[in-house]
Amino acid sequence: MPARWRYILSEAGKGLRRNVLMTVAVILSITVSLTLLGATLLLRDQIDLATDDWVDQVEVSIFLCDGETCPAITPEQEDQLREDLEAQPVVDEVLYESKEEAYERFTELFQDQPNLVEAVEPDILPASFRVSLVDPDEFLVIAQQFEAYPGVEDIIDQREVLTQFLNFTRIVRNGALAVALIQLAAAALLIGNTILMSAFARREQTSIMKLVGASNWYIRLPFFLEAVITGVLGAVVSWGLLYVVVPRVTEGLSAQVLLMPFIGVREVWEAAPVLLASGFGIAAFSSIIALWFFQDS
């Protein structure tokens, strides 16, 4: 058995070396497509992080006075405010978030930025009513009407804070995904073609192998391995690129965009299995198709 595997591995190595330029082209092509694919995955993580379920449901935050900058809201005022909010036809749902809940959510949201969490005292965050609207564009109606309520400190349109950033991110993500898929298809064709060329270059040898009764998998495995090795190498390189670049970019961004959580190294690690599986899968798939054609010719 070891002798067999030595043969298969050495043949795969020969195939890779026989046409080094082609091998490099395949690896680069896979690297480009998987880097883009990885980027779309990480952008999705970023979007999810910035719009956790909670933020997604809330369009308006009505922060309540806690006695620091304005007289603290009384329980009666609070009940009145909630009642009036719920009476509005444009209001879909009203949720109350206490100071403790606000702090809890804050620490969770920024767990990757411990400095920020440390700098914020547990009771500094105000309690608030989180209001979702039937039509998010009706923010002004709510803002104008409840601004002057006693005990209301501030009213913020959460959408406005997030929407621009999210829209931009989504466009980038979709664009990257489209390019990644096209590039991935191109990589698949390139792999298939390379394997056909490799098999064609060794057709004398494979035809003799067939005639002396070598099994089909034994004949094909070197070519399959050749493709899979390039696929996995491409995946490793693309992951390395993301590993080096992404944390730097998000670090730079988080210095500029305050109070927005950003993904870090952990998410890049989490993308590794997906990239490896994609590199392996695309190489395996296209080489199997190519070898199937080769066998019939």
Binding site: R4, Y7, E204, K210, L211, V212, G213, A214, N216
Partner: protein, 232 residues
């Protein structure tokens, strides 16, 4: 060992144009026989050989080789069939980047034989074909006759029950051909069935073995201890 029952094989040649390569051929070759398949080019010799190794499938009729029904054989069992058949080509088909020893060993390596078995069997068969002193030579350093001996060694190294030879002397001069024929005769005497397609009249006449003559895909003569043609 080999049995054809009403075997027909045709090739499409563009549109509805068909070429009949074998037409209702019935033939039986027994274990240990030495058979010449003769006939002009296009008579069906090559098709006959290709059917035996299951490179091609018959259109109709039955074909049994080494106890296997080639119409019913599963594709994953074809390699096992081919391990029972040695194949010698007119143009040798040695791998140019491997030495004589490596070319012969290759046939065993790729069917998963152990290194120990290969190290015992390869020198044996190189000695049988009389090329042991050239074991480390590369194919291009050998004469045609020597290359064909290596080719025979590769075909026979796995001790197949059947040896198919497709014009094995076609590229060789007459005296070298005699040497190859002696070698094939020796292999036949070890019990292997030898089927040889040829149109080398001298060889057929001198060997005096069974002759099957094909013409336009039909067996026109089947004669034990035959010669190439009646009137030459």
């Amino acid at each position: 060992m080999i049995r054809l029952q009403n075997v027909t094989k045709t090739y499409k040649r563009g549109g509805d144009d068909e070429v009949i390569a074998l037409n209702d051929v019935s033939l039986e070759i027994n274990k240990g026989e030495f058979v010449f398949i003769v006939g002009p080019s296009g008579s069906g010799k090559s098709t006959f050989m290709k059917l035996l190794t299951r490179e091609q499938l018959v259109d109709s009729g039955e074909l049994w080789v080494a106890g296997k029904d080639l119409n019913a054989i599963r594709s994953w069992k074809i390699p096992a069939l081919r391990r029972d058949i040695g194949y010698v080509f007119q143009d040798f088909k040695l791998l140019p980047n491997k030495s004589v020893r490596e070319n012969v060993a290759f046939a065993l390596e790729v069917i998963g034989k152990s290194r120990r078995e290969i190290d015992i069997r390869v020198p044996e068969v190189l000695e049988l074909v009389g090329i042991e002193e050239k074991a480390d030579a590369m194919p291009h350093e050998l004469s045609g006759g020597q290359q064909q001996r290596v080719s025979v060694a590769r075909a026979f190294v796995n001790s197949p029950r059947i040896l198919l030879c497709d014009e094995p002397t076609g590229n060789l001069d007459p005296s070298t051909s005699v040497g190859i024929m002696k070698l094939l005769d020796r292999i036949n005497r070890t019990g292997a069935t030898v089927v040889m397609a040829t149109h080398d009249q001298h060889i057929v006449d001198s060997m005096r073995r069974r002759v099957v003559e094909l013409e336009n895909g039909v067996v026109v003569r089947d004669q034990s201890r035959g010669v190439y043609g009646y009137a030459g």
